[in-house]
């Protein structure tokens, strides 16, 4: 099936795509057919910068288990670091 449902989020960071590094401003998460992964449905994550055009995109297609493991790993990594260390609010504080 095509679920079409898409979670959109504003992002702040950087990613390396086919044409090099770019600033990431937007993200999308959806469960649907993958483009490349050999599975009928995957959790698809796009990190994009629409202002730089459609090619400013990093695409990830994960199994449900892998996606949940990624969420868990992100949470563990953040929990292990001092609170606010990677926060956008910390940019000026670190100067």
């Amino acid at each position: 099936m095509c679920t079409y449902l898409t979670e959109k989020i504003r992002m702040d960071g950087a990613a390396k795509g086919a044409s090099g590094w770019f600033t990431v401003t937007d993200g999308m998460v959806y469960v649907d057919h993958p483009y490349h992964a050999c599975q009928e449905h995957t959790v698809n994550i796009d990190l994009t910068n629409p202002a730089e055009g459609p090619s400013a995109r990093v695409a990830i297609e994960l199994t449900e288990e892998a996606a949940l493991a990624l969420v868990d790993a992100i949470n563990k990594a953040l929990a292990a670091a001092p609170p606010g260390l990677a926060s956008a609010a910390g940019r000026s504080a670190s100067l």
Partner: protein, 247 residues
């Protein structure tokens, strides 16, 4: 009689004069041939869809698949175009109709065209095939597992896809529907509803629901590929177009 073909990228004029990239294939022989517009699935204008276009040419048709996501930029890879189009809510119905009309006009302008046009689409392209057949004067249409023709999508559905069944009275040509018994979008129940509506309206149609097949059973590059359904399905397609697109 020759089985040689030409295939490659061409430009066609789509909705509101937009220039679209398209992939076309046609026999090199000089006998008259019908035209087939192929509507790609939601993941976009990919290699598997181009193979479908060549399959039609190998069977004696001039075929073309317009890249419905061409507006996302030239030189952008098809998967990035598909993601960008999705983020914008997909292809508006009106735009789709204009793009299919442009692709059909391209086929009708070819030297050996017999003037007949069929449309076939897969997944979201199945719904769009029904839309095109209710909006344009064409000669045959094949809906391969198109969802949201009968029922509305979920409430938080971000794309511009409304049910089309209320437009069934405008269906301009015979319709072949190929569906999977295990599919949920569309479910066999939805297929039955559409068949009943077309019966009521006296619209010529032929529906097949293949056992042990779900959504996307024609897609040879995906795990849902079901050879038995796909082989039988292709036979139905060529039989149907053979009856309705002959000169």
């Amino acid at each position: 009689m020759t089985d040689a073909m030409w295939a490659g990228t061409v430009a066609v004029t789509g909705h509101e004069g937009a220039e679209l990239e398209a992939y076309a294939a046609r026999p090199l022989g000089s006998s008259p041939h019908g035209g087939v517009v192929v509507i790609h699935h939601m993941p976009g204008y990919d290699e598997a869809t181009k193979e479908i276009v060549r399959s039609f040419a190998a069977h004696g048709y001039a075929a073309i698949c317009p890249n419905l996501y061409s507006r996302e930029g030239a030189g952008v890879s098809p998967d990035d175009q598909a993601a960008a189009a999705r983020a914008k809510g997909g292809v508006p119905d009106e735009q789709l109709v204009g793009d299919v009309a442009g692709a059909a006009a391209y086929l009708k302008g070819l030297e050996h065209a017999n003037g007949k046009i069929g449309v076939i689409g897969y997944c979201s392209g199945g719904r769009q095939t029904f839309l095109a057949a209710c909006s344009l004067r064409i000669d045959a249409a094949v809906d391969c597992y198109g969802a949201f023709v009968v029922t509305a999508p979920p409430a938080d559905f971000p794309l511009t896809a409304e049910p089309l069944i209320s437009r069934a009275a405008d269906l301009s040509c015979p319709l072949l529907g190929l569906f999977g018994a295990d599919d949920k979008f569309p479910s066999p129940e939805e297929v039955d509803v559409l068949a009943a509506e077309l019966d009521k309206l006296g619209k010529e149609h032929e529906f097949h629901v293949f056992p042990d097949a779900g959504h996307g059973f024609f897609a040879t590059d995906r795990p849902n590929y079901r050879p038995a359904a796909a082989v039988e399905g292709w036979k139905k397609v060529f039989g149907f177009f053979g009856r309705h697109l002959a000169a």
